[in-house]
Amino acid sequence: MNEIIEIKEMSFAYEEKWVLKEVNLAVKEGEFLAFIGPNGSGKSTLFKLILGFLKPQKGHIRIWGKPAEKLSARGRVGYISQNVRDFNHSFPATVGEIVGSNLYQEMGFFKLMTPALTKRVNRALKLVEMLDFKDKPIGKLSGGQQQRVFIARTLVTEPDLILLDEPLVGVDQEAQNDFYRVINQLHRELGITIIMISHDLHVISSQVNRIVCFRGGKIFPHCSSEFDYNDYIRQARKEDKLLIPSHQHEE
């Protein structure tokens, strides 16, 4: 399998404090990875570095062999941010409009929604079983349904890699099960590489191929899924107090 992401000796600091130090990680095509670790351990920061929103001070991050900050094929990477569901719930847009707007780059000069693009919107909504909700206002849906719409919004660009930043915060158990069913289907049937940040080690360990642990600015690319998570968090918090103050930045 080809490597999609290659991170070598990469360090990143917010102002004068190191958030990530000498990180090495390789992600292969078709993997389903979980990033776990306490708040402030650099998980979301690593996502932003992979996306090219931030630039490392040392080392490098390559995606499909090119520096992340110069990534031209934005459509190949889908990203659902931690605060995506914190949107204005009175925002007067339908599910179809939210998903379709992500096709901006493919709309041509006059930025029109062509029949071909409408078909892609329908296909993405069908994949997450939300096609029947296409004309419903986004704010009227449940948390789990909104989450699926945002997955469809990501899928509509037909990405090869999807980054999910704590997508299940505030989502009930039934919606979580639905979410994992859809994500696993995308991973298995479409071969999409997925990296997901989660705090729930017990659930995520049964879903993914590999777990990457974050602690004290370091990452452990092959965490055992059977170690005591609570002990890990306790230990990590102790060490993080020394290495990275929790107030330093928000994940």
Binding site: L51, F53, R74, G75, V77, Y79, S81, V84, F87, N88, S90, F91, P92, A93, T94, E97, I98, G100, S101, N102, L103, Y104, Q105, M107, F110, K111, M113, D135, P137, R153, T157
Partner: protein, 288 residues
């Protein structure tokens, strides 16, 4: 032909008014959803400084109002993203205070307070051919620009981070948008008046949000309510001899109240339907 259209100043007023009635609410949809509805209020005060400067220097006031408002809009955008990130209203207050301070001094220096007054409250009879030649083309450019890049502005209003990822040049869009807002505000001062323009940014959109079920619907109804307000306001102000700016705004308020009533009736009828449905099910169970 109706008497109202036999006057050339009213013809000009209707032409300019309709362009403004379409473009201001169109811009207003995106502004309100970005929670920046007070920007119109700020920029109109700053534009007033441009008007006062124009009168003082003897230069065409609207062109100076546009230049000053555009500079202020870029200033707000920079403050919003650098100095006062997360405190958008602070950047508005800073620019508003600076603009109003400057306007007050310039007004006191010029001896034509009547001309300034007409820009504060709008004056349809003073719409000149020069205004027409500036306002109509610029209004059309802004309107067409927003409609072409509709999905880009939509994405930025919804979530800037995700818009950036989907390839929308967010920074450029934000600056272009602010420039367009400044131009539209400065242009509208002539007919609506600087003090009332923010109402036309907010009211048609607020009414539209009550009835629309999609973003496209919100844009459509906002523009429709804007045009209805302007035309009704101009008719009423002409025949009843009222101030056009104020009449347009009060028509907008009336439309907003009508949408509240419409929504209320719709809600009551839905509840009635629900109760009738439950009764029907109960009766069927009783007979079965």
């Amino acid at each position: 032909m109706l008497e109202i259209f036999s006057y050339s100043f009213m013809q000009r007023g209707f032409l300019v008014g309709n362009v403004i009635g379409l473009v201001v609410p169109l811009i207003g949809v995106f502004l309100n959803l970005k929670r920046l509805s007070l920007i119109g209020h700020t920029l109109s005060h700053v534009a007033l400084a441009g008007v006062a400067l124009g009168i003082f220097l003897g230069v065409y006031p609207v062109s100076l109002a546009i230049i000053v408002a555009v500079a202020a809009a870029i200033g707000i955008e920079n403050l919003r993203h650098s100095g006062y990130r997360g405190y958008a209203e602070l950047s508005l207050a800073i620019i508003l205070a600076s603009g109003l301070g400057l306007a007050t001094i310039l007004i006191s220096l010029s001896d034509s307070n009547v001309a300034v007054y007409s820009y504060l409250f709008g004056s349809i009879s003073l719409v000149t051919r020069q205004d027409l030649l500036l306002i109509v083309p610029l209004g059309v450019v802004v309107g067409v620009g927003v409609l072409i890049y509709y999905y880009g502005f939509f994405s930025v209003a919804f979530n800037e981070e995700e818009a950036q990822l989907s390839g929308v040049p967010v920074k450029i869009f934000n600056i272009i948008f602010m420039v367009m807002v400044a131009v539209v505000v400065a242009l509208s001062m002539r007919i609506i008046g600087g003090l009332l323009i923010s109402s036309l940014i907010v009211l048609p959109v607020a009414a539209s949000l009550q009835v629309a079920r999609s973003f496209k619907g919100t844009v459509f109804y906002s523009m429709l309510f804007g045009v209805i307000s302007v035309n009704t306001g101009l008719f009423l102000s002409f025949y009843w001899d009222l101030a056009p700016g104020g009449t347009i705004i009060l028509t907008s308020v009336s439309l907003l109240l009508l949408t509240f009533v419409f929504k209320g009736i719709k809600r009551v009828s839905k509840i009635k339907e629900l109760i009738l449905g439950e009764k029907r099910v109960g009766n069927e169970k009783g007979t079965g």
